[in-house]
């Protein structure tokens, strides 16, 4: 691809890599604005997975035979490649493949939390956590006797960093924070949060599910102890998620799922574990998905993560401005700027978010409506549900216009 040199994305050309975008629903062109839920899968990703299934499908780490060797090498190299993509210099020794971000959260919560947490310990979360981390830590806290506290958001939808400094104390064992909010679009100052955590000898887990897909992320610059994200939100396949962890932490941690492929030596009495990351990946792993994710990372990097971020921010800013101009739309989260990502959560005064999404669907505009797995945050905002339009590298300004037109027809219908 030569557009590397160009200023902005050649969106028309990129859209050719996503044939699904050519679909029409009831004769209307699909406008896909639900990218925060899942992004569409790039053709090179589908091709790589198809090539794996057609040419070298085999189980990994077991076979002496040729196909198993090819599959094993591809699977292992995918770890190195994804590690490199997020700035983890330890390669595969710092990159575990899971099913999704949620499983990455659970892995740390069980493997680390169940052993390390106890009464008097605190887990500090934010009010804008996704249920993936909020529910998980709530459960682990309940079982270990630890407490959860929540860093508040201010009226602009940003974290109140003064409150963060109050919440994080010497009793804090873990700070688990979302990098980019899937509801507010806020880009949190995660390296600052990590620093505060470290000042109190606490660890920091960052949920990067909405960050890795659309901006350059360097886990070492952030200095996160753990960092999680999902393949299906970054032009890659479903069924694979990632957990970055600092090598010495993963080394010390006990596994939380057991079985084949993760052991060094097993007797009737006891077992010892294999190396990181394999000791956290028991059973047959998502091999085709790892191959697909490798291709996704290559694809995104070739386009350039800073250009993807700029494109998304531009669309979000345009959408924000058009929606804000309407007068009867409440938009959640910070105003457009460097700490706002490419999604816009909102409510139209006269129309419930679910009705809105249904009517948008009549116009072939796909948006999300509901609680977005952030129920406590919605309680905080004082609404049961919100609508959300979220953009990716293939979306256009015309699609934002289609969004606004569809909102207008909902408004008319309910007038």
């Amino acid at each position: 691809m030569s557009q590397q040199n160009l200023e902005s994305l050649d969106v028309e050309r990129l859209r050719e890599d996503f044939p699904i975008l050519e679909r029409e629903l009831d004769g209307k062109p699909l406008v896909y604005l639900d990218n925060a839920a899942t992004t569409q899968t790039a053709d090179p990703v589908v091709d790589a997975m198809s090539d794996y299934y057609r040419r070298y499908n085999a189980n990994v780490h077991r076979g002496i035979h040729h196909l198993s060797q090819e599959a094993s090498i591809a699977y292992e190299e995918a770890h190195d490649r994804v590690a490199e993509f997020v700035g983890a210099s330890g390669g595969r020794e710092e990159m575990i493949f899971t099913k999704n971000t949620t499983e990455s959260e659970n892995l740390v919560a069980y493997a680390w939390g169940m052993r390390e947490l106890g009464p008097g310990d605190e887990v500090v979360l934010t009010e804008m956590e996704h249920h993936a981390s909020l529910v998980t830590w709530q459960q682990i806290a309940e079982r270990t006797g630890a407490d959860c506290t929540y860093i508040q958001i201010d009226e602009t939808g940003r974290l109140d960093m003064d409150h963060a400094r109050e919440c994080i104390t010497d009793d804090t064992a873990m700070v688990s924070a979302v990098h980019v909010s899937n509801t507010l679009g806020t880009v949190n100052p995660v390296s600052e949060l990590v620093d505060i955590a470290h000042d109190h000898d606490a660890l920091a887990f960052i949920d990067g599910a909405q960050a890795v897909p659309n901006r350059p992320v360097d886990v070492e610059a952030i200095d996160a102890d753990f960092y999680a994200f999902s393949g299906h939100k970054m032009a890659g396949p479903t069924g694979i998620g990632c957990l970055y962890g600092k090598a010495h932490l993963l080394e010390e941690m006990e596994p939380y799922l057991y079985g084949g492929g993760m052991i060094r030596k097993v007797t009737f009495e006891e077992s010892t574990w294999g190396d990181v990351p394999w000791k956290f990946e028991p059973g047959t792993p998502p091999i085709a998905e790892a191959v697909g994710l490798h291709a996704a990372v290559d694809y995104l990097e070739e386009i350039g993560m800073d250009r993807i971020r700029d494109h998304e921010e531009e669309l979000a800013e345009y959408a924000y401005e058009r929606l804000a101009a309407e007068g009867d739309i409440e938009i959640y989260g910070p105003e457009p700027g460097p700490d706002r990502s490419g999604l816009v959560g909102f409510n139209l005064e006269s129309v419930h978010a679910h009705d809105l999404a249904s009517i948008m669907n009549d116009h072939a505009v796909a948006i999300r409506a509901g609680d977005h797995c952030t129920q406590p945050l919605h309680d905080r905002l004082g609404v049961a549900a919100s609508a959300r339009a979220s953009f990716y590298l293939y979306n256009t300004r015309e699609e934002v216009d289609a969004l606004v037109d569809a909102i207008d027809s909902a408004r008319q219908l309910f007038a």
Binding site: S358, D362, G370, V383, F414
Partner: protein, 139 residues
């Protein structure tokens, strides 16, 4: 593929904007509440029975939520007047869809049946056949 366009026919919008039997009864025979946690829809239904303790004399509802859930409650409150508890308990989701007169997409069916479930649970509680504080569509 049936798109949702038909879901917002005039009848639904009319009931949503001008809900019938909206409010609370002064002397209900029974009252019950329910919610659809997915949408945040909430419905309260007040039912007054005739002296035979079987025939529904009057129904009122109060609620908050999407157009489908609220229109469904409004229509049901009218439809139930003069019906028996037995007839209410025999209703199923097809009857609700028929009553609404539109295709309800699978994702929205819980909104549509909330009012019916609240009325049915209320009737069963009144008869002593059920014990619960609140109905939810997530069961």
């Amino acid at each position: 593929m049936g798109m949702g366009s038909d879901m917002y026919r005039q009848q639904i919008l009319d009931h949503y904007k001008n809900p019938r039997n909206y409010g609370e009864l002064e002397d209900p025979t029974f009252t019950h509440v329910g919610e659809n946690p997915m949408c945040g829809d909430e419905i309260r239904m007040d039912v007054r029975l005739e002296d035979d303790e079987e025939t529904i004399e009057y129904v009122a509802f109060k609620g908050d939520g999407c157009a489908i859930s609220q229109a469904s409650a409004s229509m049901l409150s009218s439809k139930l007047q003069g019906k028996t508890l037995e007839e209410l308990l025999e209703m199923d989701r097809d009857d609700v869809v028929d009553m609404l007169g539109v295709d309800i997409s699978p994702m929205r069916i819980k909104c549509a049946v909330l009012a019916e479930k609240v009325a049915q649970d209320g009737a069963e509680i009144y008869r002593g056949e059920l014990d619960k504080e609140k109905t939810t569509t997530e069961e």
